[in-house]
Amino acid sequence: MRFDTVIIGGGLAGLVAGISLQQAGHRTAIVSTGQNALHFFSGSFESMEEAPERLKTLFAGAGIRLHYSAGVRLMPLGVFREAALSLEDVSFLPDPCFADKVLILGIPGYLDFFPSFLAEGLEKQGIVCRTSMLNLPESVRESPAEIRSVTLARMFDRNWERVVQQVRLLLKDEDGVVLPQVFGLEDPSVPERIRQGIPARVVFAGTMPPSVPGIRTQLLLKRRYEVLGGTYLGGDEALEARVEGDSVRSVTTRNLDRHALEADNFILASGGFFSKGLRSNPFRVWEPVFGLDVAYDEDRNAWYNDNFAEEQPYMNYGVRTDEALHPLVEGRPLQNLYAIGSVLGATRPEFGSGGGLAIRTAFSAVDQILEAV
């Protein structure tokens, strides 16, 4: 099967690249090995220094509204972090002291949200906190399944008014309310409706994975990509590449077996260790599809830090590229292959971390591909 560009990886980087190329009239395919880091997305891009109108427009086309301002956002454990570009779920606060008194609402049986940790953090800012619980229907409480963010979001999508009513009843003299980020899985308007219905400043705080705003983002970006005519090969895995000279000719996948995907250009957006874009064993780190050069420490003991909470060096490992993001094999760049997103590792401070790296490198690869035509 022939495409203009084949993208390996269906996460944020792959989808941003795929949507951009489809919009420019290119025919692309995305090969995605299972789901991706968007399922753990906080809702914020922390490192977008300049207002990235391009990303806003791209997301708006998929039905996702981003807002941009300088401020801080509340983290799941009650600390604050600077934020810039975010989904609408995330509240930008001019400063951490966003209310005098705050009501923090947990959900019985839901273990992925921590009201008492949040209270501890907020009290350090001089905010008076009270924690309480929302009520759940019996059917959910009696279920043998662990209660997860997505289960809650599906239920609240249908009756968010009941949440508003409950919060209004529980609210005393507080001028702020903190709720878990479990609203608006299929209907992105739900968080804003809840905000509108409650007579206090409502802030949604992140939960443990899976992330409701992240999954919504994934679903909407994937739908947009397919509406634009893109071919999304979900649950498949790129296995091997056929390389001639300094160019990639085709890639084979597990599901399509002998049926190779041919293209003029290839984008490697296969992610880091979690997504198996990078593999490791006790002796080495490698990139499995193209066998690219990977920057890592030869000394195994230098890979990690004994202190779990410290930054771990292995997180910085990634494929080596030239300045144009062409990855290297034995020091020589593959001219029609671009590496974007976490497969580069966090070794590129100029691109910021996580989402910032994914998006900027995606745009860079897309621009080079479009320029060459």
Binding site: A29, G34, E146, R148, P210
Partner: protein, 404 residues
């Protein structure tokens, strides 16, 4: 340092890193609060079951085996295989008569076909459905597939000579549905392949692929069918050097994936030769073969990728094929389960859940308002037709209509 690379167990269960992504995409978990979900029923439960079979839960029967958890898993864990394998290993209960009847598509077909008019008439009656509901707990709201008076096998056998005259040959695993219910689909396939200069042969003798037996607690019979079918495939593939085409995504997934993974029947030597017809035709066209299309053909088509087609990863072939038909106005429906999952939605206790699972898909179909919904699975076809009123056709049938 001990190197653990080689200690991966069956269905990769210890590769699970508890990321919970599978729980997001399980259609049952969304509607049935009694189901513990793929993570708990699959890798989490396996850990306990390996310690002590006492931890096996009968709630695993709520799994539809749609495989969406496996498609979503970033770590390659065969979540649905773990669940179905646990049911095979630990569930010692005897399946009720209803489940045995529903799963015996082969037997039911051969009994019903000769008296199809009577059977179709009787199963269409409200009173029959009420009786089936009360006695067997087959839901009265469910519409039954109609049986055909002539089997596809008989039709093709009469044309064996004319088919043998084509320069190239393939074998066709038609499955129970084409044989007993919808021979027209088989005839459409013959028309399309003949137009490509390819003649169609039957396998030596095929039996039901066995998918419904696997999910209904009849794994011993499913294994016998699997051994029989692999032997038949071997004769076609190894002895006659043929490719084997299929028109049902669930049969294909069973022949290729379930036989080795769940039933322990080795198909390694024939697996790659078993292809969905849309893939086979697409590859022929890509290699330069041509079809002559009707100049006046026009159809608004919405394509639904069945769950087992998602698992095979081959929806792209049907999609590409439909898109290349001149006059087709194409919409790809969002990836979602229709809720029927073979025999699952026929059971009274699952009816409500099945309809709730399919609701978003039905809603999208109504919004797109196509002339026809395209889909490679017969049970999806029954479910979508019953629930939306829209006609559902196999992509091969649409292609057959569009060519001269």
């Amino acid at each position: 340092m001990k190197h653990q690379e080689k200690t991966v167990s069956k269905h990769n269960f210890e590769e699970c890193m508890k990321c919970t992504v599978c729980t997001v995409y399980c259609p049952v978990l969304q509607v049935n609060p009694r189901y513990p979900g793929p993570k708990q029923a699959g890798p989490d439960g396996e850990r306990l079951r390996l310690k002590d079979p006492y931890f096996f839960s009968y709630a695993l029967k709520y799994c539809m085996n749609c495989k969406r958890c496996e498609v979503a898993c970033p770590s390659g864990v065969k979540v649905a295989d773990l669940i179905q394998a646990a049911r095979i290993k630990y569930d010692k209960s005897v399946p009720p008569l209803r489940d045995r009847l529903l799963a015996s598509t082969d037997l039911m077909g051969s009994v019903a076909r000769p008296v199809s008019r009577i059977v179709n008439g009787v199963t269409g009656l409200g009173v029959t459905r009420s009786v089936l509901d009360a006695t067997l707990r087959i839901d009265h709201r469910r519409v039954f597939p109609k049986y055909s008076g002539r089997s596809f096998e008989a039709w093709l056998k009469r044309r064996a000579k004319e088919q043998a005259a084509f320069p190239e040959q393939v074998a066709y695993f038609h499955g129970c549905y084409v044989n007993y219910n919808n021979p027209a689909l088989g005839k459409d396939l013959v028309k399309v392949l003949n137009a490509l200069g390819v003649g169609v042969q039957l396998l030596d003798k095929e039996k039901c692929c066995g998918i419904a037996m696997i999910t209904n607690g009849m794994s011993a019979q499913a294994t016998r069918n699997a051994e029989h079918n692999v032997a038949s495939l071997r004769k076609a593939v190894s002895d006659r050097g043929l490719k084997v085409v299929t028109t049902s995504s669930s049969c294909t997934m069973t022949l290729r994936v379930e036989y080795p993974n769940l039933l322990g029947v080795d198909n390694a030597d024939v697996r790659d030769a078993v292809l969905m017809a849309t893939r086979y035709v697409f590859e022929r066209l890509e290699a330069g073969a041509t079809l002559r299309f009707r100049p006046d053909f026009h159809k608004k088509v919405a394509y639904h990728v069945p769950c087992h087609m998602e698992r095979l990863g081959w929806g792209v072939f049907s999609e590409r094929l439909l898109r290349m038909i001149p006059g087709v106005e194409f919409t790809l429906l969002d990836s979602a389960c229709c809720g029927i999952a073979g025999t699952y939605g026929f059971k009274k206790e699952n009816y409500e859940a099945a309809q709730a699972v399919g609701a978003p898909l039905f809603e999208q179909i109504r919004a797109v308002d196509p002339e026809v919904v395209a889909c490679d699975c017969e049970t999806c076809k029954w479910q979508i037709e019953m629930s939306t009123g829209y006609t559902v056709q196999n992509p091969i049938s649409i292609l057959a209509e569009a060519i001269l």
